[in-house]
């Protein structure tokens, strides 16, 4: 098992980020609960964040993005907080108006 004896590289982080991204996308696609869809968005953003931090890390690569990667990750974290607040307000409004949180029932705009 050479994973545990060899130092890690950017690709290791990319693999973890890829899995988080894919789980987030599948979560968004399959969940019927609006809050569950929001959780999928959080997973996608964290997968992307992990890639930013990995490319900016001087421990993993000699020529790295430097501080840019970490600053992008910070902006993503802050914008994710804002996004969660608005999306939650919309979900609560939807729940108050329709008495359900099932996104499949949000078809009022269907022509």
């Amino acid at each position: 098992m050479n994973l545990i004896t060899e130092p890690i590289s950017v690709s290791h982080y990319l693999a973890v980020g890829a899995l988080l991204f894919v789980t987030g996308v599948v979560c968004m696609a399959t969940k019927r609960n609006a809050i569950g869809v929001l959780m999928g968005v959080e997973l996608v953003l964290n997968g992307a964040n992990l890639n930013f931090v990995a490319f900016g890390s001087e421990l993993l690569r000699a020529t790295n993005l430097g501080l840019d990667g970490q600053l992008m990750a910070m902006f993503v974290i802050v914008l994710a907080a804002a996004e969660a607040a608005v999306a939650l307000a919309i979900a609560l409004n939807f729940y108050n108006n329709h008495s359900t949180i099932d996104v499949d029932r949000a078809d009022d705009l269907r022509g």
Binding site: P7, L20, T30, L38, E42, A62, A84, V86
Partner: protein, 201 residues
């Protein structure tokens, strides 16, 4: 059997946090109970903060804990609690949607993994990786300087074209501040108490 001296502890902790993060992310997808999903997501995001620390991004890791695990997830859990009627706690997904999701997810995963391992420069760890210590990373001051418009980490950029991009992040930081203010006022306005409309279910 691996001799203890041969274990690279940074790789060991990377594997530990990576398995926790990926395992609970998968648990979020495969769980039907929204309350369990919120708990699994907390553990997954906490493990991702550990991965940030291991990559030497100690400030981002701390922010991940404070803003994500401490703020965003508390918001999500409030959303779960406010909408958790018994019939919405556990909503089953149709089998056809699972098949579509699996096809989409599998294709995307293969694509991303192949892309991630395609570049040799990303595959190979630093040759002097053993001499680097993740705990030595000190980025908080540099990040503080960068968001106030002064990049201390790239003072010696040779290329004059690239040097124009080294002027810091003051403008995005200001935009994000105003954005947060607007968004939070808008969210509290949207979520204010109203008379509930009765709909036949």
């Amino acid at each position: 059997m691996i001799l203890q001296a041969a274990i690279n502890w940074q790789s060991f902790y990377f594997l530990l946090f990576a398995f926790v993060a990926c395992g609970f992310a998968l648990a979020v997808v495969f769980s039907n109970n929204i309350v369990h999903m919120a708990f699994f997501l907390t553990l997954s995001l906490g493990a991702i903060a550990g991965l940030f620390f291991l990559a030497g991004a100690e400030f981002v890791g701390a922010m991940q804990f404070m803003i994500y695990v401490g703020g965003t997830l508390v918001l999500l859990i409030f959303g779960v609690m406010l909408t958790a009627q018994s019939k919405f706690v556990s909503m089953k997904t149709a089998a056809g949607e699972w098949v579509l999701g699996a096809i989409l997810g599998g294709a995307l995963f293969v694509l991303l993994i192949r892309a991630g391992f395609a570049v040799p420069e990303w595959n190979t760890p630093r040759s002097d990786a053993a001499s680097l210590v993740a705990a030595d990373a000190q980025h908080a001051t540099a990040i503080g300087g960068a968001v106030t418009g002064y990049r201390v980490d790239r003072l010696s950029e040779e290329n004059p074209v690239l040097r124009n991009g080294m002027s810091g992040y003051l403008l995005p930081f200001e935009i994000v501040s105003i954005h947060l203010l607007v968004v939070l006022i808008g969210a509290s306005y949207l979520a204010r108490t109203k008379k509930r409309v009765k709909v036949a279910v």
